[in-house]
């Protein structure tokens, strides 16, 4: 009873935030709405006895990724009144994708209706940290390793994209670095102070 009420509360909040995310033209309002969606979803995870997933959802999506998104929006200070006539063909594409999503949703709804009904038992250890860790590092070890390598590639790619230099600039940077190493610590402190 209580869990049903909570589910509708959080689900309603999530849907309201999602609608506001699409509705607002100001990107910052959309970003705030998206944070609301993440928080509502994490509340639903808690009611489904998956506290670890809920905490990670808050920590990574709401706490890390969206902070960077908000950061970029704040720094770019995008205009609110851009012409809407550009990229008209995207509306058709969006409508098509929306239709596919709708069909998927109905299929999931249908599949859940057909599936045998069983209630969530809070004492079940499925959502607990220990069982998730054991599953990740035994049964699903290969996918975890692959994701780890992918993330490492993304980090290196990010560093390379930021430090992309022309050959002349690169030579300058290398020379500067060599100078710095040769001339020792005192010079180094002086440079930083400048």
């Amino acid at each position: 009873m209580a869990s049903t009420v909570l589910f509708y509360l959080f689900a309603g909040f999530a849907i309201a935030c999602a609608l506001s995310l699409v509705y607002h033209r100001n990107p910052l309002y959309s970003a705030i709405s998206l944070i609301g969606v993440f928080i509502a979803l994490s509340c639903i995870y808690v009611t489904l006895a998956a506290p670890f997933i809920a905490a990670v959802q808050i920590l990574i999506y709401a706490g890390a990724i969206m902070v960077l998104v908000v950061f970029v929006i704040m720094l770019l200070n995008l205009d609110e009144d851009r012409p809407l006539t550009r990229l008209k063909y995207l509306y058709a594409l969006g409508a098509g994708l929306g239709l596919i999503l709708l069909v998927q949703t109905f299929f999931i709804f249908y599949a859940v209706m057909r599936a045998p009904n069983h209630t969530v038992n809070v004492d079940q250890t499925v959502g607990k940290t220990l069982s998730i860790g054991q599953a990740m590092y035994s049964e699903y070890l290969l996918p975890v390793e692959i994701v780890g390598v992918l993330l490492l590639m993304a980090i290196i790619g990010g560093v390379i994209l930021v430090r992309r230099l022309e050959p002349t600039q690169l030579r300058l940077v290398i020379n500067e670095e060599l100078d710095r190493r040769n001339e020792g610590q005192e010079k180094d402190d002086f440079r930083i102070a400048l």
Partner: protein, 362 residues
């Protein structure tokens, strides 16, 4: 009536517990502000506030009244909705971790059957924690990381260059030091084998030599430094460097909205003090207390609670002491220190801990 009371009883208990916990924490926080002004005064050879009440003890209430009655200015060109939202986000995220604080050991020896209508039946123990969450450490880290929005949005929505610079600095600083903080906790979590705050305390119990400050001294130092940066305190108070940014992200805030930010900062200080106590100093555990009082009895719990508050007060005093002693970093020094020194050190500490824990367990 009786059945209704029975249904409502857990909710009433939780409401009372929440009220007590929030009231207690906020009182400590209010007096931290007074203690800060007093101790800073002594460090600088002044007296500090001593006019409101004897020895200035009523100063926090006088400050609160002043904040309530001040004029509430809203900048004309600000983004109104976000401007109002930001202080609420900041304070809410600061207050939410209170529900997982392990205030003390559970009271198990009291017989609750004296309660009317048989309400006390089946109650085995009274835990001194409001919500026993399996992932307490992650919960606290997650909520505090959401608190960045309060500051970032405040800086952006005020539509002032000082506020924007303060907000940007603060968010960049909090994101950077969050990584080092998370990595410094990993060692403790591996040694304790749990993310539950009470479980971490139970892993350090029985002897003060089992406190995680001894095997994890590097982690403790990293955590402490990162905590100073996370709460935007001296020597990392770049977001409100008054000589260059007026007051940083809250330049345009006045009256009660400013008070919310102010309170959020001090509650955050309290939270990181709780985390340092629980993770590294054994939480509410007092060495040798189990020989004096029976474990689970009321005096045992009360003395433990007092010890917990005492350890937190030590960290709060440390904050004030450092504020009275150290000068401010420059922003590029702060970033270099966080990314190039603290984070690699935290990761190295984690790797060493992994190896040691692996060989200890095998």
């Amino acid at each position: 009536m009786e059945s209704l009371l029975k249904t409502a009883f857990p909710f009433i208990v939780y409401a009372i517990a929440l009220l007590l916990a929030f009231q207690g924490v906020l009182m400590i926080v209010a007096y931290t502000v007074l203690a800060e002004r007093k101790v800073l005064g002594w460090i600088q050879g002044r007296i500090g506030p001593n006019r409101v009440g004897p020895w200035g003890v009523l100063q926090p209430f006088a400050d609160l009244l002043k904040f309530i009655f001040k004029e509430d200015l809203v900048p004309d060109k600000s983004t109104k909705f976000v401007y109002f939202l930001a202080p609420m986000v900041a304070l809410t995220c600061a207050l939410l971790p209170i529900v997982v604080y392990p205030f003390g050991p559970p009271i198990t020896t009291v017989d609750w059957t004296f309660l009317p209508y048989g309400l006390g039946e089946g109650i085995r123990q009274l835990p001194l924690t409001i919500a026993q969450i399996d992932v307490g450490v992650l919960y606290v880290l997650g909520i505090t990381s959401v608190g960045v929005y309060g500051i970032a949005l405040a800086g952006w929505s005020s539509n002032s260059k000082y506020s924007l610079m303060g907000g940007l600095r603060s968010s960049a600083q909090m994101i950077s030091y969050e990584l080092a903080m998370g990595a410094s906790i990993l060692g403790v979590v591996m040694l304790a084998g749990t993310l539950d705050l009470n479980g971490i305390i139970y892993a350090q119990i029985n002897s003060p030599f089992r406190w995680f400050i001894i095997p994890q001294i590097i982690g403790f130092v990293i955590f402490l430094i990162a905590a100073f940066a996370e709460t935007n305190r001296v020597p990392f108070d770049l977001p409100e460097a008054e000589t260059e940014l007026v007051a940083g992200f809250h330049t345009e805030y006045s009256a009660l909205k400013f008070a919310l930010f102010f309170m959020a900062e001090y509650v955050n200080m309290f939270t990181v003090s709780v985390m340092s106590t629980v993770l590294f100093l054994g939480g509410w555990y007092v060495p040798g207390l189990s020989h004096i009082f029976e474990v689970g009895s009321v005096p045992y719990a009360l003395v433990s609670l007092a010890a917990f508050v005492g350890k937190i007060c030590f960290f709060l005093f440390l904050y004030i002491w450092v504020r009275g002693t150290l000068p401010r970093f420059r922003f590029d020094q702060l970033m270099n220190f966080g990314w190039k020194f603290l984070l690699p050190l935290a990761i190295a500490n984690t790797i060493v801990t992994i190896v040691v824990v692996y060989f200890l367990n095998s």
